[in-house]
Symmetry: C5
Subunit: 349 residues, 5 copies
């Protein structure tokens, strides 16, 4: 699972080969084999256990969690006759969403997204859709396909009456559906930070905004290309996609477009938030400076007056007056009042 | 009815299914059935009352206000043979304007807009245009179709002499026409805020500008996609759209383009307003600071002078002069006048 | 005639129907009927006087100034078989430039522009080009076609040897030609305001820039769509446009593109002008603040020194010196000179 | 020769007809007539001297410097059967680069550029490429074709073995080649001004940047359209362009694209320069203000202290101490040192 | 090898011909000739040694390091029948990536990139792919093809079983692969400078950001056009590219798109970094100014108070009080405390 944060921008440019290095643990393989009348689900340990499904006419969904065991996965891919270039792509988890129509099968890859503690994490999913089987490759265990599995087990909805292509649609649909949860979470984060920018801006706010901006960049990077992938998938003249499924794909396409539009709106909102923040922090600063400057301005003439009567001239008549001292205080107080009223009227305070 | 405001940006990213949750109350169904010679209008309570119109050749407009009763509406949709995906779209009120040509009928969806108290609210309308009937689905009661209903009742204009497609045109036309009222209201708000930004800028102005900016984002989101919907509608080779109606659709398309252009002009105006606001508030601040700084600058040399004669040196000849005190006042007054003239000449005051 | 100014942005969003409300006075109709050998010019009072030209083979140009008399104009349109939608467009003076090819005639609409006292005003012109006649509809009397009329009357140039389509070209050409005069006037205004922004910036400058920016928005709104209108006109396969005229239309198209490019250059210039203004006003402000701050800085140590000798300590040897007072003046003067030289060297003054 | 500068933006919007008004002096006409075996070069005085080349099969290059003698040039154009619209374009030196394929000949127009004393000047060149001749029209004497003439005279390279189209290619190539010299000169100006913006920013720098920005606008205006002209020229199916020449044209096209890219890079560099300038000048200002404010801040407590001992209270024990005066100096000096150390530590000085 | 830095922007606009002037030293030519069964590698000194490979059916890779010996390289090119225009392009190292399909061979040119000490340097590579041979031209010795040579020598992978086109793919792939290393290095530089901008901004940071921006411009200039080159290469219908190679090219294309996207993300990050820097430096400045202003504001009323008791009025009762002096100190201390608390509460300190 990759993590995008302020400090790991360099991780994104790692050369493809090294991306999954350093992961360990066993690879988990499960399959579902079903048609309208029967259903078989199994957790397998040896690659060979799923080999026979290559040539059976039932719908088979082989799901592989974890890509660290290159030998094992390579064996499966070779048996299912997947081209070497496609295999390389499956192992390269730093790819942008893509589709490749290889006649006898279609290869699709896209990103599952999570939003946790202010950070988007992504997980690559690759699909191989062929006549008799559908293989899904995931970087790691943990996905959003629970509902699909339940529907297969309990024969809910149309899933068991339809083919591989419908299953592929449901998988992509689950991923896209999850984008909306991520967008919702980001929307909440935006609202929060915007309120902060408006009412209590601090350098920390700027850091948060800049981080959100970066998250949106990665979000777009995952969501935008999916649009083209779906167009190519829906318009493909490959027989693997039945025409009944196409209306679902067109509908899904609309959802992706909606997700993209929401992305764009968020991006605009975030970038205008930076301006709001800057103007808000400068307003705050201006208030402080203005108050202090006015404060100084009031004392300046007073200090001058007391300076005048500190002079040591021989003949300063005022100094001799018995009411001189209270008078100078009266004059100074009046001055303060006059200046205060003047500044008020000018709307400076 | 959705409401867009500063604090509900997250509402926009709710997953489609939950959008109409929490609405209650009965669904209101009315129909018009007419041709050039007869007219029938009725408020119905049971779905079955409108079923017969599926196969009659007269023009029938079934209008459904409220989507909360999924069972009832599902029954109607199924009778009128509407695909499940289209039904899902009808219930998903968070969709972008869309069109789907299903051969035997055309599905259209778009947004009705209102501008109240500085906020745009939108309401989704879906149309099903088929050979014998037109069904309109609205999120809630309350629309802008009063004039159309009057024209049908009183056989005004060409409406009774034309088919379903012309009725669909009139409905979209009423919605687009209403966009101009919304734009007019926003135009007034822009003028008001711009005047405020120029002559009396305050942090509140910035909040208002940022809110207007957000309203424009949602407005665009509703209006932009309608352009493509109308192109697809007008250029569709489906027989449901008679060629006589197409010239009206092309004209309507021009109006939508005009609305979009006005949107763009408003967006530019609003974004340049932010710059005007910032430069205007900084001008105001500068004026305050400059005035106060000049004020201080005038007193600084005076305070120095009175300081000079406050010194306790033995031999300060000026202190002994009998006219010393009035002289120092004269000098100080002259200095003030000279500085004042100098600052004036420099155009600093 | 519409007027665009800072305060009428809302006027632009009026719904189409109300745009020409409130205009009064008679509609003025004139016609020219000519071929290479004869010429007839007349000011008519009854619509019927021009009806016969519908079916004659000579070139007839009917010009209608003013749209307020809907009944009269409707009568003419109906006689000349103009579709209702086109008629509505003719009356809607808030439209964007448009073209509609109705087989038996071509409808064109565009804007004539004027620049007076810093404001652009526009006037809509609609043309109906048919086999035997050309009708031009103008919002108001007053146009830029004087030269064309002279050429017809005096048989100058190729006009009398060519058809309707050439006349239509000449009319559009006169309008486009006039755009360059408007651009020239705006160019002068830009130069003036730029000089002001550089050498004498004031809040008024900002208001002027923001107004120019708005004028450019409306200018673009009138000029940009004309490009597409001309492409559609030149590429139309309608027989009404003779091939000899097409080379003129292509050339005209190049002129419109040039006008658009000049628009874009002006827009860039204006928007960079705002930056120039802001940096220029901030430079000016900085100069004031710097001067005053340096002025204060020079007096601060002096005030400190005189403060020192204002202290009432018993044993301050300097106070007893007979040359103490002149010495302190000498010290202070030296200090001023030293600071002045220091600030000079630092290039602060 | 047009001149673009800060103050002549209005000149660019002059209506086409008036552009070459006010030029005087004779028009200079020279021709080259050659094939692989013979060569004839002549300076002619009467238009008729070159008339015979219209129908000879040798390559003839007629070069006309100066457009002020409309009658003379019109006579030549008419003899060579050039359409009136094309003739108008030749005389209109304010045109954007253009190409018009008139079957029997191809008309091309583009701009020769010079960069002198910080200003770009341009000169329009029009070419008429026909089967037997090539005519070039230049606004004024003085061009960059010296090398081409030498190659013709001395039979260097492939020029004498090729046709008109190759000659046209060489002329455009010389112009494009010259663009790189202009870009080089602008590059040097950019480097110079950037260094100035970084190390010694002054309002003059801002003026220079804004002027460079304007030069780039005009440069683009000349270079961008040439790209499309060359595409149209190379892809034209007109027989006048031999297929052997096309590879040269494709190569030339690449050079124009490179020039355009360099333009775009310069534009980006210049616009980021403005930001650099603004941040640089504000850094400089900040330094001044900070230094002066710290300077004041150091004197403020000192002035307070001397004020304390200037008070006239009866019982101020310190005043009676014999070491009071030196002590207060010690205290004040210590304070200055402490504050200095504190500010240093805070990195304020 | 060209070097891009702040001061050499002008170098980029040198006219093509002069780009490799001033290089000396011998040109190094090596060849590999192989098929699945044999392999020959040789460092040659005379051009003629590789001439025979033009007509042999084995795969031959001739690599030429250095372009300074025009005569030698021209001899080779002529023998291998390379068009003069292509030869000119090979010598012009300032070109943008390009492809030219000359039927009997395909010409490709692109840039190898290095990132050293904060600067990107580029080196142009040209390929000539023909039926029997592949020639690569490099500006200088030193490349990233070591792995390819090892694979050929040791018969690793599929290289020896495939043709020229696969070798060309591997060469481009090695170059693209290297782009990711460059991007990784830039990513690290971005992270470093961003941290600096956030926590310790100085004018040097701005210089670094502006330099990174410039590096990205050149990076894009090298990477962007490669996308189109690869599309043209993969879609070419030239028989020189076997269909088995096309899937590798499509995959490579995806990698280039990913590199381009990373470029764009970096560009956005860098440009938002400038804003971060500006807001960060202004925050820092504001902090200094605010602290100093508050410091002054605290002393201003104190200085006024001591001034009051420095006045020489006859009857100032406070002066006579024996506890007057300690009292005034108490008052002043209380004032300082009150102001301190007030500023704290206002969150100004």
């Amino acid at each position: 699972m990759e993590k995008f944060s302020v400090t790991d921008i360099k991780d994104k440019s790692t050369s493809p080969e090294t991306a999954i290095a350093g992961r360990t643990g066993p690879v988990k393989i499960t399959y579902f084999d079903y048609d309208a009348y029967h259903i078989e689900e199994k957790n397998i340990e040896h690659a060979e256990e799923c080999f026979r499904f290559r040539d059976t006419n039932t719908v088979t969904w082989i799901n592989i969690d974890g890509l660290q065991d290159k030998a094992l996965i390579g064996k499966i891919c070779n048996h299912f006759k997947i081209h070497q270039v496609i295999q390389d792509n499956i192992f390269n988890i730093d790819q942008r969403p893509d589709i490749e129509d290889c006649q006898s099968y279609i290869y699709l890859s896209f990103k599952m997204l999570y939003f946790r503690e202010g950070e988007i994490t992504s997980k690559q999913i690759s699909l191989i859709l062929s006549k008799n089987f559908l293989i899904s490759f995931q970087e790691e265990e943990g996905d959003v396909f629970g509902q699909i599995r339940d529907k297969i087990r309990n024969n809910l909805g149309k899933i068991r009456k339809n083919g591989n292509d419908f299953l592929a649609y449901l998988i992509i649909e689950a991923v896209v559906h999850n984008y909306f949860h991520v967008l919702e979470a980001i929307g909440e984060a935006i609202d929060e930070i915007e309120e902060e920018a408006l009412s209590d801006p601090s350098p920390k706010t700027s850091r948060k905004i800049s981080m959100l901006q970066k998250e949106m960049i990665y979000l777009r990077k995952a969501v935008w290309p999916l649009r083209e992938v779906l167009i190519a998938f829906e318009r493909s003249d490959n027989k693997l996609i039945r025409s009944a499924t196409r209306i679902y794909l067109r509908d899904l396409y609309e959802h992706v477009v909606q997700a993209i539009e929401t992305c764009e709106i968020y991006r605009e909102t975030i970038s205008s938030m930076l301006e709001v923040y800057v103007s808000s922090i400068s307003n705050k600063m201006n208030d402080v400076m203005k108050t202090l400057t006015i404060f100084s301005a009031i004392f300046i003439p007073l200090t001058f007056i007391v300076g005048v009567y500190g002079m040591n001239f021989k003949n300063v008549p005022e100094l001799e007056w018995s009411f001189g001292y209270p008078l100078v205080w009266t004059v100074m107080l009046s001055l303060v009042i006059i200046m205060f009223v003047f500044f008020r009227k000018k709307k400076w305070i």
